[in-house]
Every structure is written in C-alpha cells, then in structure tokens.
Symmetry: C2
Subunit: 443 residues, 2 copies
C-alpha cells in the first residue's frame, strides 16, 4: 500500500471510529459534541450509517438550519424510517424540511408498516422501456445515474403504466450487442414481492434466490419500489435479535439495551416472569399433594431441584433448536412428526446418560439417612431422570409447532416457558416413580 | 401485469418452488429425482441457490459427466466452499473436474479458514489502473463484464503490484466526464479488511458503512479479493443461529437440524447437559445440609421449585439480553458497570413484583399444616424472592462479561447455565432467609 495515499484517512478516522463504537453508550449531548469534532466527510459517513432511531435523536439535537441540511441527505426510504421513529409532535415539522419531490415520495412510503416490503422499499430504482436499443438504454441510464438511485445493479423494464415486464442486470446490458433492444436482453422471470409481504419473507426470498434487490409490486403488477440487500442485512439482524429475546423469555425490546428506560425494561420482562411465576405456583400445589411422602422420606426432597432442572435444561435445548430451525426454514411445520421421532431417540439417549450419572452419584455418595436401601433411592432418581429428560425434549420440541399452529410466534416457546412447564409435570413424574418404587419400604 | 409475459414462469416454477421448500427434509434420492424433473434454467437456479453442503451432496449423487458440468457453474469462492464441505476422499477428485484457471483460484482460496475474510472472498472483482481515462475505463470494464465478475458495483483501482489505491463505484464512473482520469474520480479512503479478519467483524464493518462489497488485502496492502454483501447475509444468519443454539445450551450444530444424525445431536447436547447436571448435584448437597430444617418444617420444601425457577427465569432473561446486546455492539465490554447498575434496579423491581404475588399466594391459599403463622411463611417466600430475582438478574447480566474477559464466547452463558448457577445459590438464599425468620418458631 502506498502509505501517502491511504494514511491520511487512517489518522483522521481514529476519532470517527471511536465515536461510532461508543455511540450506543453516549448521552445526547456527548453525541452532538463528538459529531461536531468530525470533518464534513466523516460526519456524513457516521450520520448515514446510523440507525433511524439514532438519526432522529441527532437531528433533533441540531439547530433547525442544520437539521434541514442533514435530513435532505437521506434517500426517501431512510427519511421515512426517520419520520416513523420521530416523536409525533416533531414528525410534521421534520417532513416540512424535506424538499417537495422527496416529500411526496416519503409521504407515499409512510403509508406502509415498517416491517413489510412497502416499508423497506426505495422508490429510486433504475427503469427502462422494452423498445429501447441497448446503446440508447446505456446512455439513458447514464443520465439516470446522476440522480440518487438506490442501485443500478438491476434495471427494471416497465410499460407506460408502470407494469413490471422484465429485468436486466446492468452487467448483462453492458455486455449485450448495442443494436439489440432491451426486450431482447431482459429476463421475464422476475422474482417480485407484493407490497404487504412481511419483511422476514422478503429476506428469505432474497437469500434463497441470491438477489441484490427485489422489486415490490402492487396487486395490479405495477412496480412501487425496490428492496435492496443492504436493507435485508438489517432485517436479518433485527429478526434474530427479536427471536433471541423471546427465547430468553422477554418481550422483544425493540430498542438497544442501554437505551431502554428501566421502567420499560421492567415492563418488557415482568409479563413473562409473572406468567411463569404463576405457573410455578403449581409446583407448590404438586409438592403439597405429596407432602406425606416427603415427611416420611425427606431424602426425596434432596433431589427435587436436580430432577426438575434436568428436565428444564433438556427442554430449553430442544425448544431453542426447533424454534431456530423453523425460523430459517430448515424445518417446516409439516415435519413435526419427524422432529418428534428424532427427539424420542435423542431424549432417551440423553436421559440414559444423565440417569447413569445420577445413579452413580447416589450410590457413591449416599445421603446420610435414607431410611431404605441406597440402591432403591438411586433407581428412583435414575428412572425419573430418563422419564423427565425424554419428556422435556418432547415438550420443548413440540411446543413451537403447537404455538405456530395456534397462530402464535413459535419463538414464544421460550426456554424459561418450557422449563417451567416441565418443572410442574416433572415433579409428578418424580413422585409417581418414587411412590411406585418405595411402596412398602419408605412410603 | 401482462399475464402473457409473466405467467409461464409462475406455472413452470411451482414444482421448483416446492422442491426448494421441501429440500431440507428430502432424502438424497428424492432430491436427485426432483432435480431431474426441472427445466435446465430452474435446475441452475435451484443449484446455485443451495448451501455448499447441499451442493456437495447433489454433486456426489450425479454421474461424473454431469458432475463436471455442474461444478464448473460455480464461481471460485463457492467452489472452494463446496470442496471444504466435501468428504476428504472426494475433495481431490472434485478439484480435478474444475477448469485449470478456476482451479488455481480455488486452491488459493482453500488456504483460508471458512470463517475469515479470505474464506469468504471472491477473486473475481473489477479492476482499473489510475491513469486510465473515464471513457477508456468504461469500455475496458465492458470487456471485463463479459467474464463472470462477482460485482461491477465497485471497481478497485490498483497499481502494477496489485496495491489497492482507491475505489470508484460504477455509478460514479458512469456519471463522470469522459475525459477525466480514474485517479480524478476515485475515492482513496477505501474501507478494506485484512484477509484473516473474522467473518463477524467483516459483517459488522459492512453493515456499519452500508457497503455492497469490501476489498480484502494482505499485510502489504495488495488486494486478494472482495467480500460481497450477499455473503454477509449468510454470515449474519449463521452467527445468529450459533448464538441462539448456544443460548439454548447446546454446542452449535453447524448443520441443519434435520440433517444432523441422532448420534451427533446427542453428542452436541450431552456436554452442557452433563456439566449442568453435575452442577445441579450441588443442589442436593445444599438441601441435605438443610435437611433438619426441612424435616422440622416440610412446608419449606413446597416452595423450593418456585423459588429457584424464579431466579433461573430472571437470570435467563438478563443473560439473553446482554449476550445479544454484546454481539451486535449495543453494549461494549467496558459498559459492564452501567449494565450492573441497570440490573440492580430492574432486579429489585422485578423481585418486588414477584415477591408480592408470592406473598398473596401464601396468605390467600395457606398450606395445610405450616406449624407456624402463615404470614411468617409468606414473608420468608416474599423476601427470598426479592433476593433471588435480584441475584438472578445480576448473575445473568454479568456472566457474559466475565466469560468474554476470560476469552470465552459470551454466548456460552446460556440460559440453562445461568439457571443452574442460580438454582444452587438460590437455595442458599432461601434457606438462610428461612432460618433467620423461623428461628424460635419452626426451626
């Protein structure tokens, strides 16, 4: 590398990189202060790379003259995202700062929900007529390229009513003989999406077909905009974050961890915790119905947490694996029986291994006063473990399918939810095995 | 939409779409059978859209004549992925089927690990010399575009020794005055990555700078290839899947759920389960040291699962939130104190809410024989809950930081791991509170 060419940027951007890295943890004032220290190019880079939420807070921190300059930097789809994130009373004022042409585009985009194709798309795509010659098309595109198009990687071929007729990649057009028409070189098997398609489905489609962009069409087949792959990277991340948070047993935070107020955080977390807690109350009911057995054989109480947490852990594993496999299409809803059968085998194997460890623990380090033979207690623990681990695997693996069938998000089968469910039923298994084995000796 | 233009594809591709959807659940024979039914265009689409793992199994199922045709369809980076997935004994044979030029490129790529920049990159990028005029550059690119380049969206400007001097987007070049030189229009502040950079870091960089591709350079600043954003979509998905599986308490499966053998599945799951199980054995030890208290107040046993699962659930929530926030850079390692303080507040609030519910449960539906005042038992439960929920939040939130500090993946602080850790310590809290409150009455 010729140091003279590239070093200036490396030196300059140290501050910029640090600022980007620290951004989530900075207060509004600190952000503004850091932003002011950047060169114009760095400031633009940083600003354009921010999430819509952060762009809003920066914009609102700026005096109104600068606010206009910066909001006009945004392409219409990003401007629409910014307006959607802005507090209600600021929205109209920000919209007024945008130039009239873009404002019209932004207003059209605002009609769509954030998480559907229409909410992701940009109206600035490259377009051609089918009857144009290739060389005409290239010079026409050359003029279009001076506008701020989202991409010229794909060019869409439209009739006079904006119906999508075909697509040609810039590379294909560029490599084609100059005297052919666009219709000759375009492909008509265009993968397109309806404007109300969910963003997760759009992202699956783009990934599956290895596309750089996909056109969005209305019910009449008229093109409304395009969704580009760089938007999809954000979607994939967002959806994974939501799933992870749900698997962990919280409602999706919808904002960075450090930017959620404590009150909001408690609200997002307490819902599931309270539901699970009420569910857990059943464990006390179950145990109290076996209170006599415990009073006669306190040794049984020793292994309660061990037994139920083994069921809970296996259940967490199974549910997490199945939720993710469903989310990325590795498993389809109709594969439930296949999954069931796999989990029967895996659950039995895992249960047998844990059962053996449990049996060894009880026989090698027997509890002080069992009141009966150590081997009998060890057998109760081992057999219960096999049953509970199998049960945990099956409940964990099947619950996402059941939830999906009932119209809920499979990711709601969170690890804590499955663990709690298995806790309650696991106790019944444990005490039933104990009653069966210890009848006549302790119980 | 003019139906005549687009309908043929819709009808034809029904089979193709179904096949793609069913792919993960099909056996090798069924896949081959379905593949044979497709039109050549559909077959190519399906094949190119498959994951490397699935491309390998399809290739190996084909007779060797066809195998050669299909492996030559792949650009060098994808061919390298296929070879990496192929069983050892087939690798050399598949490599021999590739044409000599591509084979050289593939061999160079095979030197890199799959999950670093070098393993993701393609050597087929568009390149220009700085002294070329814009119009010369465009017609030179026109010739390059006939080869199979990964993208002509970005064009890299190199000196004679392949040192990266700058970058120009095709759109910029296209819109520039024809008589300027490439040096005049190129940007020199190129974001590039070293060839051994981890794929997660590459994907963060691309997302942060909103790039469509990033050049990969060696230690001397010579360009080796480019990583394009469509590879990044796969990386983001893969990394999220790995994190989700770890959070659920399994080792990363590294393959689709339905394609992992039962034996492999058990192996990936039993490790953590066994560790957690051995950890759980401590619960029995803890309880046995409080055996006297339980024998005297069996009522205490009733609430063991309730208490410990509340701690486990809060811990799962906190650890999941923090792991994800760290993974996507919303929280940095140095923010641990900030997170600690937030979790103290959230944990106390959550604990108070659950404590209240617990107190209500015990006083409204008192256990049959408490042997002491119901209120006293209710107070033990409520106070223990506040302590355990707070403790669970803090352990869950801090463990990812600790693991990261020790050089482990923060995602190893899986929900089941935190739950088990909190189980053991939660019991100590519970019995200590009980001993304190019930001294003189029951204990």
């Amino acid at each position: 590398m010729e140091p003279s060419e590239l070093e200036p940027r490396a030196a300059e951007s140290l501050l910029s990189d640090e600022l980007v890295e620290a951004w989530p943890a900075l207060s509004g004032d600190e952000r503004l202060e850091g932003f002011r220290l950047l060169t114009p190019v760095e400031a633009e880079d940083l600003y354009l790379g921010l999430e819509a939420r952060d762009q809003v807070s920066l914009l609102l921190a700026l005096p109104s003259g600068e606010r206009q300059i910066w909001i006009r930097q945004l392409p219409p789809d990003d401007a629409a995202d910014v307006l959607q994130e802005a507090p209600g009373e600021e929205r109209a004022r920000l919209l007024d700062l945008i130039d009239p042409d873009t404002r019209r585009e932004v207003t059209a985009l605002l009609a769509y929900a954030e998480d559907e194709a229409g909410g992701l798309m940009s109206p600035r795509y490259a377009r051609l007529r089918p009857e144009m010659r290739v060389d005409e098309a290239i010079s026409y595109l050359r003029r279009q390229a001076r506008q701020r198009l989202e991409t010229i990687y794909y060019i869409y071929v439209l009739d006079a009513e904006q119906h999508l007729l075909g697509v040609v990649s810039f590379r294909e057009l560029f490599a084609a003989p100059p005297d052919k028409t666009v219709r000759d070189v375009m492909r008509t098997d265009v993968v397109s999406v309806p404007d109300d398609m969910d963003q997760e489905a759009v992202s699956d489609l783009i990934a599956q077909h290895d596309l750089m962009a996909v056109p969005v069409v209305d019910a009449e087949g008229r093109i409304k905009g395009i969704v580009t792959i760089d938007d999809i990277v954000d979607v994939v991340r967002e959806e994974a974050t939501e799933d992870i948070q749900k698997i962990g047993g919280t409602a999706a935070l919808d904002a960075p961890y450090l930017q959620v107020s404590i009150l909001e955080m408690v609200r997002k977390r307490v819902g599931w915790l309270a539901v699970l807690f009420v569910g857990s109350l059943l464990t006390a009911t179950v145990i109290s119905s076996f209170e006599d057995q415990i009073a006669r054989a306190v040794v049984l109480a020793l292994f309660i947490p061990l037994i139920i947490s083994s069921g809970g852990n296996t259940g967490s594993q199974a549910t997490t694996l199945v939720i993710r496999a469903l989310a990325i299409g590795e498993v389809r809803p109709r594969d439930w029986l296949l999954v069931f059968w796999r989990e029967v085998q895996a659950g039995l194997a895992l249960g047998a291994i844990l059962g053996l460890i449990g049996f060894a623990r009880v026989t090698l380090f027997p509890p002080s006063e069992t009141g009966t033979s150590t081997e009998l207690i060890a057998a109760v623990v081992a057999v219960s473990l096999v049953g509970i681990v199998l049960w945990g695997s099956l409940v964990g693996a099947m619950l996402p399918f059941v939830l999906r069938r009932l119209g809920f998000d499979p990711a709601s089968a969170s690890a804590p939810f499955v663990a709690t469910l298995v806790d309650v039923t696991g106790l019944v298994i444990y005490f039933s095995v104990a009653t069966l084995f210890l009848r006549g000796t302790l119980l």
